[in-house]
Amino acid sequence: MDFNVLSLLIWVPVAGAAVVVGLPRRRAELVIPVAFALSVLTLGLAGYLVFEFEGADGGFQFVEKTAIWSDLGIDYHLGVDGISLFLVALTAFLFPIGILASVNIELRPKEFMAALLLLEGALIGVFLALDLVLFFVFFEVLLVPMYFLIGMWGGERRLDAALKFFLYTALGSAFLLVGIVFLSAQANQQLGSPTFNYLELLDLDISRTAQYWLFGAFGIAFAIKVPLFPFHTWLPDAHTEAPTAGSVILAGVLLKMGTYGFLRFNLSLFPEATVQLATFLAALAVVGIIYGAAVAIVQPDLKRLVAYSSVSHLGFVVLGIFALTSQGVSGGVIQMVNHGLTTGALFLLVGMIYERRHTREISAYGGIQKVMPWFAGFFLFTAFASAGLPGLNGFVGEFLILLGSYSRHPALTIIAAFGVLLAAVYLLWAYERVFTGEPDKEENKALTDIGMREIGILVPMVALIIMLGIYPKPVLDRIEPAVERVIDRIEQQTDFQSPLRIDDIALDDEEVTP
C-alpha cells in the first residue's frame, strides 16, 4: 500500500463536488465532463481496490486509522472486506452511469452534479467506515444530497416524497444513534475507555436483554433503509419522484446500506439476539418478497412497479442474510450487487422512455417494441435479469439465497420461492402492455429509438449482468471468506450451528459411471 486508496475513494468525489461548484458560471459546459471524469477516476480507484484485494483473506484490508474526535474514542477508521468490497465497486460503477444519464438536466446542473458526487463520497464512506460514529455520520449526512436530489429535481409530488424520505430514514437513524451511544457507554464500562471502534466493540460481552434492545435499535434503522415490510412506504414515493440518476442510486446503492448494516453490525455485534430473531426477520423478509411482488403486479405506474420490485428483491437479500448459512449470506451479498445492477438498469430504461413521453403510466404505452426495438431488447433483457433468469446475475444470488436458506427456514423459503414466479408475472405483464401489440397512439408511433449515448450507458451494465451470471466465481471467492468469518463468530458466540457449511459439502467431480 503506497497510498490510502480508501480515503481517496471517499474524498475524491467529495473534493470533486467542491471543484464542480467552484467552476466559473460562464464555463457551464464544463460541469458534466468534469463531474464525469471525477466519477470515472473514483471508479478507477475502485477497480484498483478490487484487483489489489487479497481474496483469501476474510479480514479487513487497506485499514486506515487515525483518531479524530479522540475525547470520545471516535476514530477515522476505514477498512474493506469481502462484504463491503463489491458494494464499494458497485457504488463507484453506478455513479458515472448516473451522471451520463442526467446530461439533459436543465435546472442548476452544477448543483445537481455536486450533490451526486457528495452522495457518492458519503455512500462509499458508509461501506468503508469501521467506526460506528463515522458510519453514522456518513449514513446520516448522505440524506442531505439525496434530499436535495429528490426535492429539487424530482417529479410533481417531489416535496412530500423528499420530506417523507428524509424524516422516515432519520427516525430510524435516531434509534441507531441511541444504540451506538449506548454501546459506547457499555464499552466505557467494560474496556475502561470510551470507543466506537467496530473491531473493539466486537469484544464486548453484552447481556442477552441488552442485545435484544440494541438489535432492535440498529434493526429499525436498517429495516427502514432496506426497506423491510412494513417500513417500505417511503420507497415507492422516493423512487418514483426522484430524477433518474436519483432513483438509480437510491435503488442501486442506498437500500444496500440497510442490508449491509444488518450484516455488518447486527450479525456480528449481537449474535445472540441475531440467532433468536433470525426467523422473525426472515419472516418479515418473505412477507416483503410476496407483498412487494403482489403490489408491483397491479401498479399502473412503471416506475412504481420497479420500486415495489425492489421491496421484493431486497426481501431476498434479507432472507439470505438471516439464513445464517454461508450460502445464504454470500447469496445475500452478491444479490445486493445484482439488484444494484438490474434495478439500476431498469430505472435508467424507465427514465429514457420518460424523457421521451413524459409519462410513466403503463396504459399510455403499447406496441412500442415496433418503434423502439433496441430499447425493447434492453428492457426485456433487464426484466429477465431481474426475474432471476439463469445465466444472468439475478439468478446466482436468488439461487444461493433460496437453496442456502431452506435448511434453516424451510417453510419461509418455500413461500419465498414463489416470489420468483411473481417476478416473472409483473415484469412480463408490464412488458406485454408496454411493448407488444401494434402501436396505436400517435405519440407512441412518433417515438425514436435510444441513441448511442443511451446504449453506451446500458452496455456496461448488460456486460456486468452477463458476466456475474455466467462467471460469478471471482466475486464469490472474495465474498466467501468474509462471510465465513461472520458465521464462525456467531457459532463461537452462541450455541448456534449453521446447518450448511461450505467445508462439509462434498464437491466430488468424480465421473458418473453407472
Partner: protein, 633 residues
C-alpha cells in the same frame, strides 16, 4: 474428443450471438444458412463423439469447464453418457432439419434474422439442459429453453394473442419451475450438493423414501410444467401462436420432452419412491387420454397436433413412471420425428393456404400438394401406430411394459389403449379434413406445393418416422433392440420394467394395432362428406358433453376466473387499499398526528400574562412537591 464437447453448445450459441448482431443485415437466406450450419455441425460433432457408445465401448464421463456456483456444487460441468448422447443427437438432428425448413418457411419475414437468432439460442439452451452434469446447470437450460420458447411464441409480437401466449407459456412454466426449485432446495439440504455424481449414485445413502417422495414430486411438478402434463398442460395449445417450425422444434420434438428426460435422468431418485413413480405414470396416462379427447374436436390444424403432442407426452410419462425408461426415451425419439414431421407438414399446408389454419377451409389438398401429402401419410401411420412404422414400436413397447407391471398399471394400460384408439380417430380426422375429401378453400386461395428447402426436411423426417422404429424391435439378429443396448449403460443401476413373458407382447401388439385400425376406419367413414369438420366423433345429441370438449373442458376459463382474476383482485386490494391506506396511512397518521398535537398545544399559549404566570407557577409547585417529598422521606 469429448474434451471439446462444449463445442456442441458453443456452436449454436455463437451462431445466436453472431446473428443477434448481424442476422438482420445478413438477411435471407444467409442468416438461415448460418444458423442451420452451426447446429448441423453440432450434430456431426455429437455423432462422432458418441462413436464409442455405438460400439458399446463408451462410458459416461464428466467434462469440467469452469466453476459456476461452487458453493452449491453447481458448476459448468457436462455429462456425456448414452442418455445425453441420444438427447443431443435428437435435438441437433431434428433441429437441423427444422432449421433448414425454416429457411423457406420464414421467407419474407421482416425479422428473418432475429428468428434464427432465437432458434439457435434455443438449440444452445436445450443442449445445456441435456448435457448438464448437475441439477443447477440443468435448471439453467431448463429456464433458458423457457425463455427462448417465450421469445419464439411471441415472435410476432404485434399480434396481441401471440404476445399473451408467450407470456402464458413462460409463467406457467415458471409455476413448474418453482416446484423444481423447491426440489433443488430439498436436494441441497440432504445431499449438500447438486452434482449428479453425488445425488444420483445410490441416493439411498442420504435420504429416506419419504424425502425421496418429496423431492421427486417437486421435480415432477417442474416436469409437468415443461412437458405440458396435467395440471400444467394448458399453455401448450396457445403456444401454437408461434411460427410453425417453432411448434415443431420446441413444442413437439425437443423442449417439451425435457420433463421426460429429467425423470429418466433422475431415475435413481424416482425409483426410491413407488408413490412418485405411480404418480408419474398416472398423470401421464390421464393426460394422454384427456388431451386426446380434446383433440377430437379441434378445427385448427395446429391445435390438433398440439393436443396430440400433450397426449403423446403422456405416453412418455406413463413409460418412465412405469420404470420403462428406455421405452420412454425411445418414444421420445420416434415422436420427435413423426411429430416434427406432422407439424412441418401442417406448416407447409398453412403456407400453401396463405396462413389459413382452419381445417374447415381445407380438404382435398392431396392433389395439389403431393409431396406434403405423401409425407403426412407416413406421419399419420406412424403416430397411430401401424407397423412397421416408428410409432408402433415405441408406443407398443410402452403399452406392453405397462401391462406387464399389472395391478394399477393394468388400468393405466386400458387408458393407454383407449388413447391409442382416440389417437387414430383424431389423426385420421385430421388427414381426412386436410388432405382428402372435397376442397373447401376460400376464393383466391391457390394452394401449391412448397419449395424444396421445405419438402426435403419433410422427406427426411418421413424416412426417420418410417424406419427408426426398427432400431429397437424386440427381435433377435438384425432387428435386435440396438437402441436399448445403446442406452443400457445409463440405467445399469436402475431396476427396469420387463416385458411380459411368452406370447403376451404379441397379443398386446395385435390388440393395439386393431384398436388403431378400428379408429382409423371409423374416422374415415365419419368424416367424409358435407360439414364433416363440425361433426362430433360419435352420434350427435349429447351435445352438452361435446360443448365441453369443444372448449377444452373450459379449463382456461376456470383458471382465468378462479385463479388469475381473484389473484389480480387480491393484488389490487393489497396495493390500493392495504398498502396505501393502512400501512402508508398509518405512517402519514404519525406524521400528521405530530403536527396536530402541536396544533392542540398552541391555544395553551394564550398570550395572557396571567396564564403564563400560572403555568410557570404550576411548574414551581411541581418542582417543590418533588423536592420536598425527596427531602422529607
Amino acid at each position: 474428443m469429448t474434451d471439446y464437447l462444449w463445442i456442441v453448445i458453443a456452436l449454436p450459441l455463437a451462431g445466436a450471438v453472431f446473428l443477434h448482431f448481424f442476422g438482420q443485415r445478413l438477411g435471407e437466406p444467409w442468416a438461415g444458412i448460418v444458423a442451420t450450419s452451426t447446429i448441423g455441425a453440432g450434430f456431426i460433432y455429437a455423432l462422432v463423439a458418441a462413436g464409442d457408445f455405438f460400439t458399446g465401448t463408451g462410458h459416461g464421463e464428466t467434462i469440467h469447464l469452469f466453476d459456476w456456483i461452487a458453493p452449491l456444487g453447481a458448476n459448468a460441468e457436462l455429462l456425456w453418457d448414452p442418455l445425453s448422447a441420444v438427447m443431443t443427437l435428437t435435438v441437433t438432428g431434428v433441429g437441423t432439419l427444422i432449421h433448414l425448413y425454416s429457411i423457406g418457411y420464414m421467407h419474407g419475414d421482416p425479422r428473418y434474422g432475429r428468428f434464427f437468432t432465437n432458434l439457435n439460442f434455443f438449440a444452445a439452451s436445450m443442449l445445456i439442459l441435456v448435457l448438464a452434469d448437475n441439477f443447477g446447470l440443468l435448471f439453467v437450460g431448463w429456464e433458458l429453453v423457457g425463455l427462448s420458447s417465450y421469445l419464439l411464441i411471441s415472435f410476432w409480437f404485434t399480434k396481441p394473442s401471440a404476445a399473451a401466449a408467450g407470456k402464458k407459456a413462460f409463467i406457467v412454466n415458471r409455476i413448474g419451475d418453482v416446484g423444481f426449485l423447491i426440489g433443488l432446495m430439498l436436494i441441497l439440504a440432504n445431499f449438500s450438493t447438486l452434482t449428479y455424481g453425488t445425488v444420483l449414485e445410490e441416493p439411498a445413502r442420504f435420504i429416506t423414501a419419504g424425502t425421496a417422495t418429496a423431492i421427486t414430486l417437486m421435480l415432477l411438478l417442474g416436469a409437468a410444467g415443461k412437458s405440458a402434463q396435467i395440471p400444467l398442460y394448458f399453455w401448450l395449445p396457445d403456444a401454437m401462436e408461434g411460427p410453425t417450425p417453432v411448434s415443431a422444434l420446441i413444442h413437439a420434438a425437443t423442449m417439451v420432452t425435457a420433463g421426460v428426460y429429467m425423470v429418466a435422468r433422475a431415475a435413481s431418485l424416482f425409483e426410491l419412491s413407488a408413490f412418485s413413480m405411480g404418480t408419474v405414470a398416472t398423470i401421464g396416462a390421464f393426460t394422454a387420454l384427456f388431451a386426446a379427447t380434446i383433440a377430437l374436436k379441434q378445427r385448427d390444424i395446429k391445435r390438433v397436433l398440439a393436443f396430440s403432442t400433450i397426449s403423446q407426452l403422456g405416453y412418455m410419462f406413463l413409460a418412465v413412471g412405469t420404470g420403462a425408461y428406455i421405452a420412454g426415451i425411445f418414444h421420445l425419439f420416434t415422436h420427435a420425428f413423426f411429430k416434427a414431421l406432422l407439424f412441418l407438414g401442417s406448416g407447409s399446408v398453412i403456407h400453401a393456404m396463405n396462413d389459413e389454419q382452419d381445417m374447415a377451409k381445407m380438404g382435398g389438398l392431396r392433389t395439389v400438394m403431393p409431396v406434403t401429402h405423401a409425407t403426412m401419410f407416413v406421419g399419420w401411420l406412424a403416430i397411430i401406430g401401424i407397423p412397421p412404422l416408428a410409432g408402433f414400436w415405441s408406443k407398443d413397447e410402452i403399452l406392453a411394459l405397462v401391462f406387464g407391471e399389472g395391478g394399477w398399471y393394468g388400468f393405466l394400460w386400458v387408458i393407454g389403449l383407449v388413447t391409442a384408439l382416440l389417437t387414430a380417430v383424431y389423426m385420421t380426422r385430421w388427414m381426412q379434413l386436410t388432405f382428402w375429401g372435397e376442397a373447401r378453400w376460400d376464393d383466391g386461395v391457390h394452394p401449391h406445393e412448397s419449395p424444396a428447402v421445405m419438402t426435403v426436411p419433410l422427406l427426411a423426417l418421413a424416412a426417420g418416422s418410417a424406419l427408426f422404429g426398427l432400431i429397437n424391435t424386440p427381435f433377435k439378429g438384425f432387428f435386435q433392440p440396438a437402441f436399448e443396448h445403446f442406452l443400457e449403460p445409463s440405467f445399469e443401476a436402475i431396476e427396469m420394467a420387463h416385458l411380459p413373458s411368452g406370447a403376451t407382447p404379441y397379443v398386446l401388439a395385435v390388440i393395439s394395432v386393431a384398436a388403431a385400425a378400428l379408429g382409423a376406419w371409423y374416422a374415415t367413414r365419419r368424416y367424409r362428406g358435407e360439414n364433416a369438420f363440425e361433426r362430433a366423433p360419435v352420434a350427435e345429441g349429447r351435445t352438452g358433453l361435446w360443448r365441453w370438449v369443444d372448449n377444452g373442458y373450459y379449463v382456461d376459463d376456470i383458471i382465468g376466473n378462479l385463479l388469475v382474476l381473484p389473484g389480480k383482485l387480491v393484488a389490487a386490494w393489497t396495493a390500493f387499499v392495504f398498502d396505501s391506506d393502512v400501512i402508508d396511512g398509518s405512517v402519514r397518521a404519525v406524521g400528521g398526528g405530530v403536527r396536530r398535537i402541536g396544533g392542540w398545544l398552541r391555544p395553551l399559549q394564550t398570550g395572557f400574562v396571567r396564564n403564563y404566570a400560572a403555568v410557570t407557577f404550576a411548574g414551581v409547585v411541581g418542582l417543590l412537591v418533588w423536592f420536598v417529598s425527596r427531602g422529607v422521606s
